[in-house]
Symmetry: C2
Subunit: 361 residues, 2 copies
């Protein structure tokens, strides 16, 4: 691809808060941002120079969009691969199709990661009651039944415990193609957020420790309470995954941290081919935010330093009514508030986040 | 006025880089930004949810714009007072009309500041050759002839030295209504950037030292090399000016620092009723950027801390072709680049800036 320069158009597929935060950083670096999304009320539209509202199945609109972009990225992994393919015919798509296709399908993703020799939770493909019964027999209980596609924030998954009816679990996920995952008795959930440049260069942020509530990320604390060897292992896992996908841009790998008699182990849960909620702390917590870093990476520009700006950074999501505390948060010295410009504060909806730096945990 | 909340519309009169940087911070705090400017290619349009391109004399367009805003601010002081008056009939205008009218006219501004008992350069009104001759006789040479209105970045002013022809100087500024200012033998140029809240609360940033080249700000260094008493005096001057104008929002007061046998003295040069180029270092250099601070102030939200984030912060303007170094600047560890999205890098045009933090000057 030809070099990208300030003044060029960066296209973003998807219009949520991640696109919004990428768009702002891209504009700061002099790019003209064009957001393509299928919903008219999209948070990213409000900060983008150009906006297209059209279906992801609208090949003509996608081509028209991509033709005027120097490079196109995506901000959520459920962009249909067919849409991404159309775009990729007209403009460089970063990250590429392989990452998108792999991350969209939990089964493909698990097989891909396991194929790299990286530990994942034990899993089985589930297509019907019979394969679910076989999977439960193999993996035991508790186990987690997850749809292969379109899951996020705990949606499309259900835990099957002793005494639970497998048929009910299958019905709860709409009898969609699924996988069953064995339960990993984790001590903590951690994630690596990193960026890979077109030349293979990697910039990795400090290991994040994540606390979920009701399947939704509630708080990220950096650095994670983990041994230095564990952090090194996490970086190595991220590097192997990104290299295998010839990945370009920011990505995250979510992992379980397991502690047993042998020490700490990492088990990969899933990877996200995009900027990630557990990287929001970088907005004031790191020398380069993940959003700026993503723009640098997809444009082929030098990656920025990932240095942490304080001994500890925390990021709390503002979910639903949490955002009503905005005035209190604005009055709190050192709290950095970001709101996503979403109209209605529905339960479970990510409305914003707040980042804080501190001297100790 | 009724309280402003996230989701409300913030109107900005003017569409340059200052409006652009205000718009981004306003969006981050959940506001919907509507920019009104008279030029279709306006940097602020690219990051605003809504844009109106219309003349500042178009009363209907101004009213339509203001009617949907919870609060309106301006990003340059040459917005016609008549336009601001129209807006103020439909929405709260912050800062108000008094600050705008005063700052638009160098003569009114000088009289206003001097009337507060604050030292200014000696000055005389100049309307024609006769009053210029009298002013030169009173103030001596060198002296600086400045238009009363529409001057910025060294435009609309000319130095009259020994041997210079006053008639040529008058012609050089288009024979516009002017003032003659006596030359102040300054050791440094400094500025105070501060915000005043509707309740009178003041948040002042550290004293800035400014180096101009060709009448245009080239570099700001913070803190200024000045005695603590001088910094205290500068804060006091800023407070008096803002209080007298019942000012709301961020503003800057540019001053000459004079050193003589008695020590350091401050002489006010001019005030800017808006975020200011010498405050751009706050983008990474202070706990709250001047742009976020301005949004907080005009919305009636709590002001943020002005704490400096490092022993020294510098801001260098990228003028004209300077912006061509963007790739080198992106590769420089610790340099924070901001580009304004302007098309053509004309000589003398502010294209962006770069902020750096360091341990010492």
């Amino acid at each position: 691809m030809s070099p990208v320069a300030p003044g060029d158009v960066l296209g973003i597929l998807g219009g949520g808060q991640l696109g919004r935060m990428i768009a702002v950083e891209a504009a700061r670096l002099g790019l003209v941002v064009h957001v393509y999304n299928d919903a008219p009320a999209s948070p990213a539209f409000d900060v983008a120079a150009r906006a297209t509202t059209a279906d992801f199945a609208d090949g003509e609109a996608l081509a028209e969009f991509a033709r005027h972009c120097a490079v196109v990225t995506y901000e959520f992994e459920n962009v249909p691969v067919s849409a991404a393919e159309t775009v990729a015919r007209w403009a460089p798509l970063r990250p590429g199709l392989a990452a998108l296709a792999t991350a969209q399908d939990r089964l493909a993703e698990k097989r891909f990661v396991a194929g790299l020799g990286i530990p994942v939770a034990p899993f089985r493909a589930v297509d019907d009651a019979a394969s679910l019964a076989a999977a439960l027999a193999a993996l035991g209980r508790p186990a987690i039944l997850k749809t292969r596609r379109f899951g996020y924030d705990g949606k499309g998954q259900v835990v099957i415990r002793e005494g639970d009816d497998p048929a009910a679990a299958l019905a709860a996920i709409g009898a969609a193609p699924a996988i069953l995952e064995g339960f990993v008795p984790f001590a903590a959930e951690v994630s690596v957020v990193a960026a890979r440049a077109p030349d293979g260069g990697l910039a990795v942020y400090d290991l994040c420790e994540n606390r979920h509530e009701g399947g939704i990320l509630a708080r990220t604390t950096v650095p994670a309470a983990a041994a230095p060897e564990t952090e090194a292992a996490a970086r190595e896992i991220a590097a192997r995954i990104a290299t295998a996908l010839d990945y370009v841009g920011v990505f995250a790998v979510e992992m379980f941290l397991v502690r047993d008699a042998d020490g700490e182990h990492l088990v990969v849960n899933e990877m996200a081919p995009r900027v990630h909620n557990s990287g929001h702390w970088t907005d004031i917590g790191a020398a380069t935010s993940q959003f700026e870093q993503h723009v640098r990476a997809v444009c082929g520009w030098p990656l920025g330093p990932t240095t942490r700006r304080a001994p500890v950074a925390t990021m709390d999501n503002l979910i639903g009514a949490d955002a009503g505390a905005w005035r209190t948060l604005l009055a709190e010295e050192g709290a950095r508030l970001t709101l996503y410009g979403k109209g209605e504060a529905r339960a479970g909806r990510k409305m914003g986040h707040v980042t804080r730096l501190s001297e100790k945990r």
